[in-house]
Amino acid sequence: MTHIYNILVRPIVTEKSAYQTSSLGQYVFEVAVKATKAQIREAVEVLFDVTVLRVNVVNIPAKRSRRLRNRRLLIRKAGYKKAVVTLAPGNTIDVFEGVQ
C-alpha cells in the first residue's frame, strides 16, 4: 500500500535543515522506512507542485539508552528514514517557511 500520501511523514525543522532550506534549496523530511527515492520524488512533486532535482536518503539508526537511575530500564528511540530533497531553483515548499 505504498501511496504518495503515505510516503512523507513529517518535515524536519532544525537549525541544520533551516540552513539547508534557506541557502541550498533543500528540504528535509522524515519519510516512510520503505519509501524509495523515486517514490519520494513523486510524492514531493505531486503534493507541493514543485520540480525535484535530487533526492538523498539516509537511514537514521535507532538509538537506545538506559535510564541513569534505573540501569535496567531500556529506552528505545525508533530509527527512521530521512530524505533531503533538492528542488529546482525558484521552487519553495511553504510548510517550512512558516508565516511570512
Binding site: V13, T14, E15, A18, S22, E97, V99
Partner: protein, 455 residues
Amino acid sequence: MKIDTENIEDRQVQLTIEVPDDRYKAAMRSAARRMSKRDKIPGFRPGKVPFNVAVGRFGEDAIFDEAIDTLGQDVYKQALEDSELEPFAPGALNEVVSRTPLVLRYVVPLSPEVDLADYRKLRVKFDPPEVSDEALDAMMEDLRQRQALIEPAERPVQMSDVAVIDIEGNLDEPEEDESARVIKESGISLLIEADTDWPYPGVADELIGIEAGQSRTLTHTFREDYPAEELRGRRATFEVTCLEVKSRLVPEWSDDLARGIGEYDDLLDLRIKAREGLAESAEREAGAEYADEVLEKVGESATVTYPPMLADQEVDDLLHDLVHQLEARKLTLEDYFKAENKTQAEVRDELRPRAEERVKRALILGKVVEEEQLEVDEEEVSRQVRRLASNMQDPEGKIFKALNTPRSRRRVENDLLFEKAIDRLISIAKGENPDKGNPEPDEEAVESDSDSDGT
C-alpha cells in the same frame, strides 16, 4: 519618523508617531531572537532560530508585544527630543493605531496649569468667635465636679453618691445561638446621678437606697433608640450587688479651691484664664474653618487643569493610607473589601473625588507660593524639624534623625510653604492686602512662635 502632536484636554499631549519600516522590522527580529533565547525550540540552539520559524512558533502577536516593549520606549524618547515637549511625568503608550506602517499613539502628561484668577481681590468675612457665658459656666462646673471629695459612707445610696457594685445582666428571652449575657462587671464605681445612662438610662432612680452588702434585681426593657441595635426593645434582668457606698462632696467655689486647682491667684483669675483658654481653642477652630472657607473660595474661582494621572496617584496614596490604618487594626486590604462588600475599583471610585480635591488644593497652594514669591530658608526648616521632634517627646533622638533626612526635610519645607500660602491667602481675604515676597512681619511671627515654644 513622523510625529504628530495634538493637545488634548486636561493638560495632556497626544503624540502620534509613525515608525519607519526598517526600524520596526529590526525590532521584530531582535525581539524574536530574545524570545527564542528564553524559550528553547527543539532542533535549534537558543537564539539561533530563523525569524520565520520563530514567528511560526511564537505567533506574530507575541513577538510584536515583545518588540513594542523596547521599540516603544526608544521611539518615545526620540519623539520627545524631536518634539521638544517637556513631560511632567512619563507618558504611556495609549494604542497601536496600525502595524503596517507602524503607528503608535502616546499620551504625555504635561505639568498642571493653575489659573488663580483674581485671588488678590478675594474677600471673605471673618467672624471672630465669642465665648458665651454658658460655655464658661459649663466648663467651670465640670472643673468643680472633678474636684469632688469622695469618701466611704455608712448609709444607703443617695443621689450624687458613688456606688461600688457588681453587676450582671442577662436577656430574658435570648434567641438561639445568642449569648444571653448583656454585661458582667464586678467592683466598678457607678456615679448615681439623674443622667447616669449606664447600663441603661434611669438606673440611678432604681438604685437609690441600696446599702453596702445588699442586692437588687432590676428588669429593664431597652428603648427603641438604644445605641446597641441588637438590644433595642429587649427585656433584661440585672443582678446588682452593692459593695460599698461612697459619698461625693462637691466643693463650692472659693479662692482656696481655685488655688488648689493650679497656679491661679484666686477664683477670678481662674475664671479669666479659663475664658482665655476657651477663647483660644475657639479661635483656633474658627481659624481653621476660615482657612477652609478661603481655600474653597479660591478654588471656586481658580481654573486648575492637570493630567488625570495626578489624581490617580493621589488615589493610590489614599489607598496606601487606608492600608496603614487597617494595619493598625490588624486587617488587610482584602479584609476591608470583603467587610465593605466592595471591589477595589469601587473603593477607588469613592476615593476619587477626595483625591481630586486634594490635588486641586495642593496645586493652588503651590501656585500661590509661586505668585507670592514665598520662600522658606534652611533655618526655618531646621526649626520646624526640631519642633516636630520635640512634640513627639523625643528631643534630638530617633524621630529627629528620621525627620532630618533630606527627603523629609523637603517635605517639611513644602508643608511650611503651604502653611505660609494659607496664611497669605487668609490675610488677603481679610483685606490686609499684604505685599508679595517674604515680608518682615512674617519673620517676626515665626520668631515669637519659637519663643513661646521655648517656655
